[in-house]
C-alpha cells in the first residue's frame, strides 16, 4: 500500500492560455481530512477532477493510493468516491432507483445490492425520501443523495468539491456531521469549501491554492499563524450612535486598524500584543466621545487568515515566485474536451 492516499507532483493543467493548475505538488496521508481552500477560479475543481480521473493533466503525476490517475483510471475509480459541487439528477427516477442504478453499475448484485443501497440510505437519512423523484429533491437532499452515491462502493478516498455550497445552515450542519462520521471511520477525505470555519473544525490539514499554485499546506493553526504578519489583537467594538464615527476615529489613531464594519460598530486590529495598550485605546475612545457599549477581544479565525493570505499574495509577499517551469510536452498532450 502506498504511503499516501493522495500524491500530486508537479501537476499542470492548461486550457489554452489559461493556466488552471500550474505546478502543484502535495501529499495527503491515509485517513486524514484535508481541506482545499482557494478563491473561485483558483484551480480547486480542476485539481479535484484530475484526481478523480475525470480530466487529464497537461503534465505531471497524480496518484491515488499509488495508482496513476491517467494510466490506471480503473484502479483509481475503485478507490475513490467523487462528489462534485453540482450534478444533475435523472428524470422519472426515484431516489432508491437512482442509488440502485449506481449500485448495479458498481457491480453489486442481488441481496448485497439491496443491502448496500439500504445502508447508504440509512446513513444519509434518505429512507423517507426513497420514492421521491431524484430531480425533485431540495438542494440539501440532493447533496445527501450525491454523498450516498459516492459512498456506495465504500471508497477509501472521498473527494468532495464544495459539498456545502448552496445549503441552508441546517443542511450544512447535517452534512458536516456525516463527514465527521466518515472521517472517524478512517476514510481519507479531500474536501473543498468556502465555509472556512467548518473546514478548520474538521480538517487535519489545509491546502491553500491560488492562481493554480499551492501557497500554503499545513493545519489550521499554522495557517492562522503564518498569515498573521500584521500581528496584534482583534477586538469587536460596539458603539451607540453613528457607527461610522468609529471607523473615522480609527483612521486618526496609531496602532489601530479598522478591519470591517458591523451593525453597531466594527472589528479593529490593535497592532500590539500588550493588553495595556488595548486599555489605553479604550480609554481614548471614551475620552473622544465614542459611546462604547461593548469592547471585547476576538480570536483570529480562518476567514481572517484567508483574507490575510490573499492580501499577502496581492502584495507579492508569498506565491510571487515563478512556478517550476513546465517541461517540454511530449506525447502526453491531452486534447481539449471534444464534447
Amino acid at each position: 500500500m502506498s504511503q499516501h492516499a493522495i500524491s500530486v507532483h508537479n501537476l499542470y493543467r492548461y486550457f489554452g492560455p489559461l493556466k488552471a493548475v500550474n505546478g502543484v505538488s502535495f501529499e495527503i496521508p491515509h485517513g486524514s481530512v484535508c481541506g482545499f481552500v482557494g478563491a473561485n477560479g483558483a484551480g480547486k475543481t480542476t485539481t479535484m477532477r484530475i484526481l478523480a480521473s475525470l480530466d487529464y493533466p497537461t503534465l505531471g503525476v497524480a496518484e491515488i493510493c499509488g495508482y496513476n490517475v491517467v494510466s490506471h483510471p480503473e484502479e483509481v475509480r475503485r478507490l475513490i468516491g467523487w462528489m462534485p459541487d453540482h450534478f444533475g439528477n435523472y428524470e422519472h427516477m426515484t431516489v432508491v432507483e437512482y442509488l440502485d442504478f449506481y449500485a448495479r453499475a458498481l457491480g453489486f448484485k442481488g441481496k448485497e445490492r439491496r443491502q448496500r443501497v439500504q445502508e447508504v440510505m440509512e446513513f444519509t437519512d434518505l429512507v423517507p425520501l426513497a420514492e421521491r423523484f431524484s430531480n425533485k429533491l431540495s438542494k440539501g437532499n440532493t447533496q445527501r443523495l450525491g454523498l450516498g452515491r459516492a459512498l456506495l462502493q465504500d471508497p477509501q478516498v472521498l473527494i468532495m468539491d464544495e459539498p456545502a455550497a448552496g445549503l441552508d445552515p441546517k443542511a450544512r450542519v447535517e452534512l458536516k456531521s456525516l463527514i465527521r462520521v466518515l472521517a472517524n471511520e478512517g476514510k481519507t477525505i479531500f474536501i473543498s469549501s468556502h465555509i472556512l470555519s467548518e473546514l478548520g473544525e474538521m480538517c487535519d490539514s489545509l491546502l491553500f491554492i491560488n492562481g493554480g499554485r499551492i501557497v500554503h499546506h499545513g493545519d489550521a493553526e499554522s495557517m492562522k499563524r503564518d498569515t498573521d504578519t500584521a500581528g496584534g489583537l482583534l477586538y469587536d467594538v460596539q458603539v451607540l450612535g453613528n457607527p461610522e464615527d468609529l471607523s473615522a476615529w480609527c483612521l486618526l489613531q496609531p496602532k489601530v486598524e479598522f478591519m470591517e464594519a458591523r451593525k453597531q460598530g466594527g472589528r479593529l486590529r490593535i497592532t500590539t500584543t500588550e493588553l495595556g495598550d488595548a486599555a489605553e485605546i479604550l480609554h481614548r475612545m471614551i475620552k473622544d466621545g465614542l459611546k462604547v457599549t461593548e469592547f471585547h477581544r476576538e480570536e483570529r479565525n480562518l476567514e481572517d487568515a484567508f483574507i490575510d493570505m490573499l492580501g499577502k499574495i496581492d502584495r507579492g509577499e508569498i506565491g510571487s515566485g515563478k512556478p517550476p517551469p513546465m517541461p517540454e510536452l511530449k506525447a502526453f498532450n491531452p486534447p481539449s474536451a471534444d464534447v
Binding site: 475525470l54 494510466s71 422519472h92 439491496r114 439500504q118 481539449s336 471534444d338
Partner: protein
C-alpha cells in the same frame, strides 16, 4: 372444525420497504438498460406514442371490420399499419436518442457513470438498447393487429413480417446513429443530422406508401433481392456501429482505445460488401461507390482524431515488434495514424475505381464516374485540412468537420446558382480547388471530361499529400508514446525477468 392458524405478517422496516421494489429488473440485465428502461417507460414520449398507436390501429381495425367485404380492405389495413408503425419507429423513436448522451454530459451525470465499472461502450449501448427495447415493445404491440389483418385476406405474411422486422432493424440503426451523434456538443452534428435523417425517413415513408406493392414485393426476397437485402442490412449495421463508435470515443477515457476496432470494422465491412456485390453479380460500376460509401464514415472518424496518444494504448502493438508498430501506424487512436488510415482507404477506393475504369472497359464507369468518385473523396478530405492546420484552436473537431463539409456543398450550390444565372461557367475554374465543384463541372458539357477528371484527381491528391505531410511532421507523437510505453511497461518487465 379447527380454526386455521394465521401466521402474522412480518412487518418490514421503512428501510426494508424502501428497497423492496428493487427486484423489478434482473441482475443479469445491464445496469444502463435497467436505468434507461425505468426512465424511458415513464417518459411521456413513449407513453404517448404507445397509446396513440394502439388508439389509431384500434379505430382502423374497427372500420376495416365494418368494410371487410370490400376489395382491398386488407391492403388498406396493411398500409395504415405500416404508415403508423414506421412513423413511430423511424421518426419518433430515433429522435428520442437525439439528446441521449449530450444530456448526460451537460448535467455532468456522465462523470458519475464513468467512475463506475461501466465502460464507455456499455454506457452508449445501454442508451441504445433501451430505446430499441421500447421500439420492440411497439412492434410486439402491433402483432395482434397483424393477426386480425390476416383474416382480411390477400396478405403475404412472410414479406409483411420481414418488412416490419426490417423497419425495426432500420430503426435500431437510426437510433444507434443518433445516440452516437448525441455525444457531440455541436448542434450541426447532434441536431441537424438526426433531423435530416428523420426528414429523409419521412420521405421514404411517403415513397413506401406510394409504391407499397413493390415495397412488399422486395421483402418476398425473390430473384437477386436477397443479396441486396443482406448488403443493405450489413451497410446499415456498419453505419450504426460507426456512429455508435463516435459516442463511445467521446466519453471514453484516453486510456481506452476504441479507434482500432472501428478501423478494423471499416476494413472488414468494405471486404464483406465487396464479396456480397461479387456474389450478387452487381454491376462493376456500382462497386467503387458502394465501397466508397462504406469507407466514408471510417475516414471521417480517422480524420477527426486529435494529436494525442496515450503511451499505454500502444502496448498491444509494440509487443508485436516491428509488424505491430507498422500496424499501429494505421490503427493507433491519434491524428497521424488517422491520416495514414484515411490515405489507405482513399487508395483502396481510388484504386478500385481506377482498376474498373481502365480494365473492365465498362462504358458506365468512365471518366465521369471516376471524377465523381475523386470529387466525393476530395470533399471528405478537404475539411480535414482545417483540422490539421488549426488543430490547437479547435475544441470540437467533428462539429467543425461537418460544418466545413456542409459549408463547402452550400458554397458549391451558391456558385452554381451564380454561374447558371450569369452564364459564365468558365468562372467555375476559379473555384476548382473546392472538390464539390467538380460534381457540377463533370455534369456540365462545357467542361472537358478529361481535364475535369485530372483536376479533380490533382486536388484530391494534393489535399491527401498535405494531410500526410502534416501527419508525418507530427509523427513524433507516435514515436514518443511508443518509447515511453517501452520504458514504462516493457523494460521493467524484462529487467524483472532477468533478475
Amino acid at each position: 372444525m379447527s380454526t386455521p392458524t394465521i401466521t402474522p405478517a412480518v412487518e418490514l422496516s421503512a428501510s426494508d420497504r424502501s428497497t423492496a421494489g428493487l427486484n423489478d429488473f434482473s441482475d443479469r440485465l445491464p445496469p444502463m438498460l435497467v436505468k434507461e428502461l425505468r426512465q424511458g417507460l415513464r417518459a411521456r414520449t413513449f407513453v404517448g406514442v404507445f397509446l396513440g398507436l394502439q388508439l389509431f390501429l384500434g379505430i382502423v381495425m374497427l372500420f376495416a371490420t365494418m368494410a371487410s367485404g370490400l376489395d382491398g380492405a386488407g391492403e388498406a389495413v396493411s398500409r395504415i399499419i405500416f404508415l403508423f408503425f414506421s412513423l413511430a419507429v423511424l421518426v419518433v423513436q430515433p429522435l428520442r436518442a437525439m439528446n441521449a448522451l449530450h444530456a448526460e454530459i451537460k448535467t455532468t451525470t456522465i462523470d458519475m457513470m464513468v467512475l463506475t465499472r461501466l465502460n464507455a461502450r456499455r454506457i452508449v449501448a445501454g442508451k441504445w438498447a433501451s430505446i430499441v427495447g421500447q421500439t420492440l415493445l411497439l412492434f410486439v404491440s402491433i402483432v395482434p393487429y397483424l393477426i386480425l389483418r390476416y383474416f382480411f385476406g390477400g396478405m403475404n405474411l412472410f414479406a409483411e413480417l420481414l418488412a416490419l422486422g426490417s423497419l425495426c432493424l432500420l430503426s435500431a440503426c437510426l437510433t444507434a446513429f443518433n445516440v452516437g451523434l448525441s455525444s457531440n456538443s455541436a448542434i450541426i452534428v447532434r441536431g441537424i443530422l438526426p433531423l435530416g435523417l428523420a426528414v429523409s425517413m419521412f420521405i421514404f415513408m411517403i415513397f413506401m406508401m406510394e409504391e407499397f406493392d413493390e415495397f412488399l414485393e422486395f421483402f418476398a426476397l425473390e430473384d437477386d433481392n436477397l443479396a441486396i437485402f443482406l448488403g443493405l442490412v450489413a451497410g446499415a449495421l456498419y453505419l450504426a456501429w460507426t456512429a455508435f463508435g463516435l459516442g463511445v470515443a467521446a466519453i471514453a477515457p484516453a486510456a481506452e482505445n476504441h479507434s482500432t476496432l472501428n478501423r478494423l470494422v471499416t476494413l472488414g465491412t468494405m471486404a464483406l460488401i465487396g464479396v456480397i456485390l461479387f456474389v450478387a453479380d452487381a454491376d462493376a460500376d456500382e462497386v467503387p461507390f458502394f465501397i466508397g460509401a462504406i469507407a466514408f464514415p471510417g475516414l471521417v472518424l480517422a480524420l477527426c482524431e486529435s494529436n494525442f496518444l496515450m503511451p499505454r494504448v500502444t502496448l498491444p502493438f509494440i509487443r508485436r515488434g516491428a509488424l505491430g508498430k507498422l500496424m499501429g501506424a494505421f490503427l493507433y487512436p491519434c491524428w497521424t495514424s488517422g491520416v495514414q488510415f484515411a490515405a489507405l482507404l482513399s487508395a483502396i477506393v481510388l484504386g478500385i475505381g481506377g482498376l474498373i475504369m481502365f480494365t473492365s472497359g465498362s462504358y458506365r464507369f468512365g471518366k465521369e464516374e471516376f471524377t465523381v468518385l475523386c470529387s466525393l473523396l476530395g470533399s471528405a478530405l478537404f475539411p480535414a485540412l482545417f483540422l490539421a492546420f488549426f488543430q490547437k484552436r479547435i475544441n470540437n473537431r467533428i462539429g467543425l468537420y461537418f460544418a466545413i463539409l456542409i459549408g463547402s456543398y452550400a458554397l458549391m450550390l451558391a456558385l452554381i446558382a451564380v454561374a447558371e444565372s450569369t452564364n459564365v461557367d468558365e468562372a467555375m475554374w476559379l473555384f476548382c480547388w473546392l472538390p464539390p465543384v467538380h460534381l457540377y463541372m463533370v455534369d456540365d458539357s462545357s467542361f472537358p471530361d478529361e481535364i475535369v477528371m485530372i483536376t479533380s484527381l490533382i486536388f484530391t491528391s494534393l489535399y491527401l499529400g498535405a494531410l500526410l505531410f502534416h501527419a508525418w511532421a507530427n509523427y513524433r507523437t507516435i514515436r514518443t508514446a511508443e518509447e515511453e510505453a517501452e520504458l514504462t511497461y516493457l523494460t521493467p518487465a524484462k529487467e524483472n525477468q532477468n533478475a
